[in-house]
Symmetry: C2
Subunit: 315 residues, 2 copies
């Protein structure tokens, strides 16, 4: 049934193919009827979701601004393999949905949110990355505003929880080789919530020889994080750190109205460094629109509320 429909569609799109015959004398229609999709072993395909949000934590001082934290949604595995460990939300791609649709569906199942920022990051295809069978997985990043979030556990999840994530550079090494150099960085991904702390150490190596180089990342230790998900998390953090410099991804973590201080804190928690306030305000001025609203009860001078300027990029 499905096969027949496909043949018709392709036939329509490529009229000239109707008369072409291959080395066996078959037309495209005849070829497709005979095509045996089960001829080769096939891997399973899944999507894994990196759902981030920015979370304000109140500090016990009425004067002080709340502290901004970056959070990631993880699910405690209720099934083998990695039973009891924490994993990224995700699941198998159905045969009748695109991988982007699968990502959207998983996101909806976990957060009840549609229409939020969602982007494909990377496809993980190591042979032994899943002990069940050969599974290839595409990671997607989703950025959500805390205000509109609600959490619903998926069917293979005992528990879904937000973890505050920090990216700690433990060590950077540089050494010369005969033909180039070797750079070795080791970073810790720490995930913390009220009752659990997860941690993974990853070694990032850059090996340059002549005009070529090789980059590898290896898990040194992974405490409580399932599969190769600590690599996916490191990859996503790295993506955030670099993309925030030239794109508007920080705004996907903000509510509709926000202060420039809150926005700056989001930049700082992702980049892992303090930024000079005056320069920051000048630089993002073109990306925001000032409203005539102000914060209240701040314990100090109130702050103007801003909105994202959707047009900032369109000269």
């Amino acid at each position: 049934m499905t096969n027949l429909w496909l043949i018709l569609m392709v036939g329509d799109l490529n009229l000239e193919n109707k008369i072409l015959r291959d080395k066996n004398g078959l037309t495209q229609e005849e070829f497709l009827i005979r095509y045996d999709a089960k001829k080769y072993d096939r891997p399973s395909v899944t999507v894994d979701m990196l759902i981030f949000t920015a979370h304000k934590v109140e500090i016990g001082n009425y004067r002080k601004n709340p502290k901004m934290e970056l959070q990631l949604l993880l699910i405690k595995r209720a099934e083998h393999p990695f039973l009891g460990q924490w994993a990224l939300p995700g699941g198998f791609v159905d045969m009748n949905e695109s991988i982007g649709e699968a990502a959207g569906r998983e996101l909806q199942e976990e957060t009840n949110l549609e229409n939020i920022y969602l982007e494909q990051l990377f496809t993980w295809g190591d042979v032994d990355r899943d002990p069940r069978t050969r599974i290839i997985s595409t990671s997607y990043i989703a950025l959500a505003d805390q205000a509109e979030l609600g959490i619903k556990a998926g069917d293979d999840a005992a528990d879904a929880k937000w973890f505050t994530i920090t990216y700690n550079v433990l060590q950077t090494k540089k050494s010369m080789t005969e033909s180039g150099f070797r750079g070795e960085n080791s970073v810790e991904i720490a995930l913390q919530n009220s009752d659990t702390r997860l941690s993974s150490v990853i070694n990032l190596e850059k090996l340059a020889a002549g005009k070529h180089f090789n980059k590898t990342s290896k898990v040194v230790s992974s405490d409580g994080i399932a599969f190769d998900h600590s690599l996916m998390i490191e990859n996503a953090m790295d993506w955030l750190k670099s993309k925030i410099k030239y794109a508007d991804i920080a705004f996907r973590l903000m509510p509709e109205y926000f202060t420039l201080s809150e926005l700056q804190q989001v930049y700082e928690v992702i980049l892992g460094e303090k930024l000079p306030a005056a320069a920051f305000r000048r630089k993002i001025a073109c990306m925001v629109i000032k409203t005539n609203q102000f914060t209240k009860d701040a314990g100090h001078r109130p702050s103007a509320l801003y909105k994202f300027n959707v047009y900032w990029d369109e000269k």
Copy 2:
């Protein structure tokens, strides 16, 4: 056999899992023995290679510098589907190789080159993107120096040929909507060699509403290009255009020794615009090392030869 080995490996890596039992009372080992990988239909997985090189074309004037062109390797399909049309080199991922290894293998089969720049771009997972069966494909970009290239046809290829590629913005439209705006660009990907011209027009739409936006790309016409490969090509060109601004990818297209004018031409052909020479030289000064060699027989003032500075990024 394979299953058993996996179980042992996972057992070793996750000692605490040995005693954990799931809701059916199974240990991880027992679960994995019972796991039926054939339970669900699975898509096929392939890799598609975007192999680029920079090619100098002599001009019939002894004084004039040769013109730099960007070239892409395509293969004329000898089999259904899309028999007789041109496609990116690629193939199925074997069950015992990672997708990165599959990309490296395909690259080696097509160009006889190993150890050249290779990076994953995007995974294409639309349900109907291949008329044979559900096929998910990951595109990889490879950048090669023309000097070290040799071409060998693959087994499903009647012919492998280099095409000069140009990226032509046909139209840009911006219009306001109630809640945001719509940006519509239409670009032509033209591929030309001595006896064939291929062309595809693609519509890129950016739809912004409130703080959210959606990007879509659609093939308007595709003349002689198989599958969704014109989308892959547009995606790769876009990637080149943006990444060349902050990374050292241009050098992957250069031979070991090159002039700054040649380098500038590579930037210009990728960006599709002329650059001011003085500013260009200042900006890339930190990425190159001047040698004491010069070009000869140029018909005009000779040019100093430079090498890539592998350390440029490592403060």
